[in-house]
Amino acid sequence: MTYYESCLHSLPEGSDSPSRLAMAARRLGYEGIIICNHTGFEKFFRPDAVRSVKGIKVAFGTEVIANNPRALRSRVATARVRFPFVAVHGGSEEMNKSACEDPEVDVLLHPEEGRKILGIAAAKAAQMNQVAIGFDLHPLIRLRGSSRSRWLEVVQRNLNLARKFDLAITITTGAKSHFDLRAPRELQALAAIAGFESYEIEEALKYPARMLERNRRKWAAPGVEIL
């Protein structure tokens, strides 16, 4: 089982230290976690302490926020050098599209946040640049009633687009504390409610591990690896 929880937020952004998140995730049965604080919170609280937590792999990444495409490109380029995992905080149509057009981006997170679907142009670009679509299930846990059903509808449409263009999918809870974490089987049950097929969920939970492994290798140019 190589399940990874891919986009957690630790202190100073969330309320848990990286080692506390690691311990909680280990208890729930994850093999590894990736801690991705948003832009501006990248100075993690005691990142060395996670080495003392045995039995789980912890990687640090970042989730880039930007207001315009130019800022996004430059922030992604600087983040790429520092971190093995670079996600982009989606939302507006413009940001979704420019994130999908950047091959340096690993995952575009919650593109449905602005209540808009991804768009065919963005989905095509994501397919070309191998950008995965990250579905954040936090609204499914947090919201109730009509706002949740609206969210489910948009997610369903994005999922259809991802299936059509054969995009990679990841699933996360976007946890900011150990109370937000859910076990892999609980995530599977939640995602099944949101309309995911079981094999898609399985792939989605394994995807971050593959991505990390690929990013840690040395690439000279696209498709050329230094051995």
């Binding site: 202190l11 969330g14 309320s15 506390r20 003392s52 150990h178 609980e186």
Partner: protein, 192 residues
């Protein structure tokens, strides 16, 4: 009530779960929250098929009964619980079994500590690290809940306390209460 015909008997599964929460959760409030979450997620009709019922709950571990074909839906229902009566909480399924006896023996530990018991000795202890300072509220094994001095710290994550571990306290900080890692040696089951 027992049906006369064995083939018409309703089959059941028992879900053993654990509650992580900031304070002690009252069983009645938990049962109400589960029912509310279930109706909200699956609707009245889905809830009627589920037949979810809280059997027992001791403050940390509990047992639920449900229909044997609807275990996955019930997992999803339990996963959507965010807070109980305003107390931040999370339910984690420990296991599923066909009888109360098997579920209890397999998944519910005989000696389970409630939050009140774990926090009994932690009054009036302080941690001061760079960037984080506050009073210890609970500590359980290596996990420490800290009430921060700046309330804004926990604003974004909607929790009351900061979650740390004793690993965070090791090295590079002033001793919180005279020991190297800020915890009394031999305290809370940690071997010196």
């Amino acid at each position: 009530m027992r049906s006369r015909l064995p083939v018409l008997r309703m089959r059941r599964r028992y879900i053993a779960f654990q509650v992580d929460s900031e304070e002690i959760v009252p069983p009645r409030k938990l049962a109400a929250e589960i029912i509310y979450a279930q109706v909200s997620l699956l609707g009245d009709k889905g809830a009627s098929v589920n037949r979810l019922k809280l059997i027992s709950f001791d403050g940390r571990f509990g047992l639920l009964r449900c229909s044997h074909t609807r275990v996955d839906e019930n997992r999803a229902v339990l996963a959507t619980i965010y807070s109980v009566d305003g107390i931040r909480a999370a339910l984690h399924v420990k296991g599923v079994s066909g009888t109360i006896k098997a579920a209890t023996e397999k998944y519910i530990p005989k000696l389970s500590l409630t939050i009140a018991e774990t926090s009994a000795e932690n009054d009036e202890r302080r941690i001061e690290l760079e960037g984080v300072s506050g009073w210890i509220i609970h500590s359980y094994n290596r996990e420490i809940d800290l009430s921060p001095d700046e309330i804004d710290r926990t604003k974004g994550s909607d929790t009351r306390y900061l979650g740390l571990t004793s690993f965070d306290l090791c090295g590079g900080c002033d001793d919180a209460d005279g020991t190297a890692d800020g915890l009394r040696q031999g305290d809370n089951g940690i071997q010196p």
